[in-house]
Amino acid sequence: MSVQQQGLLATLAREFVKLPGIGQKTAHRLAFHIMKARSEDALRLADAIRDVKAHVTFCVQCRNIAEHELCEICQDPKRDRTKVLVVEEPSTLHAIERSRGFHGLYHVLSGALSPLDGVGPTEIRAHELEQRVKEGGITEVIVATNPTIEGEATAIYLTNVLKPHGVHVSRIAYGIPVGMDIEYADDITLTKSIEGRREL
């Protein structure tokens, strides 16, 4: 299976290659698939892409993905507005939503601080979070940044910045994945899970 280097089909394949996780072979297979598909099926895909670009944006409050000024979560009157859970990216927010384990609001930082790469507080949405806390109504901020150097640096920084405003700042626990044998856990995870133990 080969696609000529020029022509409309090759142009489509080149667009697919730019997508995450798509290599040359898959891109060509997808391009062929689109060519052979019924017109209305292929055009529905084109319309869906166009609609996403035209109507999906970021929530002005939490920076979650949204179709209006505020995302569905920020609009939902049943959510607990006193708790805000902080994540690096919308994908983490959606993983937590899938778990149904949290009923408050979110704040997406769109990144994390990096002592190694020199990413500082002005490059993530940290001031916006501080602003939300300053406006009042929030009593607890739960920092759910990744357990990496970047996530840790971000968590310490946010704690330093937010605590003076009188809110309770907490960090999600590290631990052994459910269903795993403890003996296979690595030393860092084990140490952290013992430190983060809770009373029964």
Partner: protein
């Protein structure tokens, strides 16, 4: 398909693809090596926390054809330097140490002194030694081990060893300049008192942990810090993240990343948010 097993310190770790990581290691046997750790970001990854930056590990990897990236197959943690992650100051200083080794060392050029200096530096930072002072000492030593020793024994331009009273440090020349040469050079130079010269010389010679007992306060600290920063910038040709840029201020000043280099586009509301203090 040569297989390697060696001690290593993780300098850098970057997300790659769906669940992989690309890591830069400073290995004892091979020097700086870049490799792929497949599936390292998955919850059940066999690498676990073994490839986080600063970690001292025992690593097994193999080379694949002509590929510049090795394939990492196993990691056992010797010392995770977990306590370094509890303070922004220690973390930023440790970041400077791995960044300087990464920037100054060549690929696959083993340097046992670079390895042990870095390891000692991370240990000292974890033991709560003064982060800025420790990183200055380690940087002076690493500069020496990589062939960039700042010249403090004689004038970096005319080699005159006897004319260094009231000398100045010139980053472009790579060391102290005597009065005469300094007057003729067009490069910028920094003041350097005899105490600062003595500090740099001792920091270079003293082994760890004795080196961490060196003290620098006031003028000496300021002079040495400014000279080393300027010299490193000259040697590697770019600015490394400052050692205190994550200091716990609520509104730190911006530190020189141009807007168009930001990883994320500015939010439309950004201009409306007031920044006080």
């Amino acid at each position: 398909m040569p297989l390697w097993k060696t001690e290593a310190i993780t300098l850098h770790s970057r997300r790659w693809g769906e669940a992989d990581r690309i890591v830069t290691l400073y290995t004892l046997k091979l020097g700086k090596v870049r490799g792929v750790a497949r599936g390292a970001r998955r919850m059940n990854s066999q690498f676990g926390a073994g490839l986080e930056p600063f970690g001292h590990v025992e690593v097994t990897f193999f080379e694949k054809g002509q590929d510049a990236l090795v394939r990492i197959s196993q990691v056992d943690v010797r010392e995770s330097f977990l306590r370094l992650r509890e303070s922004l100051a220690q973390m930023s200083a440790a970041a400077r140490l791995v960044n300087i080794v990464s920037a100054l060392s060549a690929d696959r050029d083993a340097g046992t002194r670079i390895f042990s200096t870095l390891l000692n530096g991370l240990q000292s930072l974890q033991d709560k030694c003064d982060p800025v002072l420790t990183s200055m000492i380690v940087q002076i030593q690493i500069l020496g081990h990589t062939g960039f020793r700042p010249q403090t024994d004689h004038c970096a331009s005319c080699n005159n060893p006897y004319a260094l009273q009231a000398a100045r440090f010139c980053a472009v020349s790579g060391g102290l300049l005597c009065r005469h040469c300094e007057g003729q050079s067009h490069g910028q130079s920094l003041p350097m008192s005899p105490g600062s010269v003595a500090f740099i010389q001792q920091a270079r010679r003293l082994p760890f942990p004795a080196a961490t007992r060196l003290k620098a306060v006031g003028q000496i600290r300021r002079e040495v810090e400014a000279a080393i920063e300027a010299y490193i910038m000259e040697v590697i040709g770019r600015q490394l993240p400052a050692m205190d840029f994550l200091a716990a201020e609520s509104h730190p000043p911006s530190y020189g990343v141009a807007n168009d280099q930001r990883p994320f586009p500015p939010h439309p509301m950004e201009n409306n948010i007031e920044v006080s203090g």
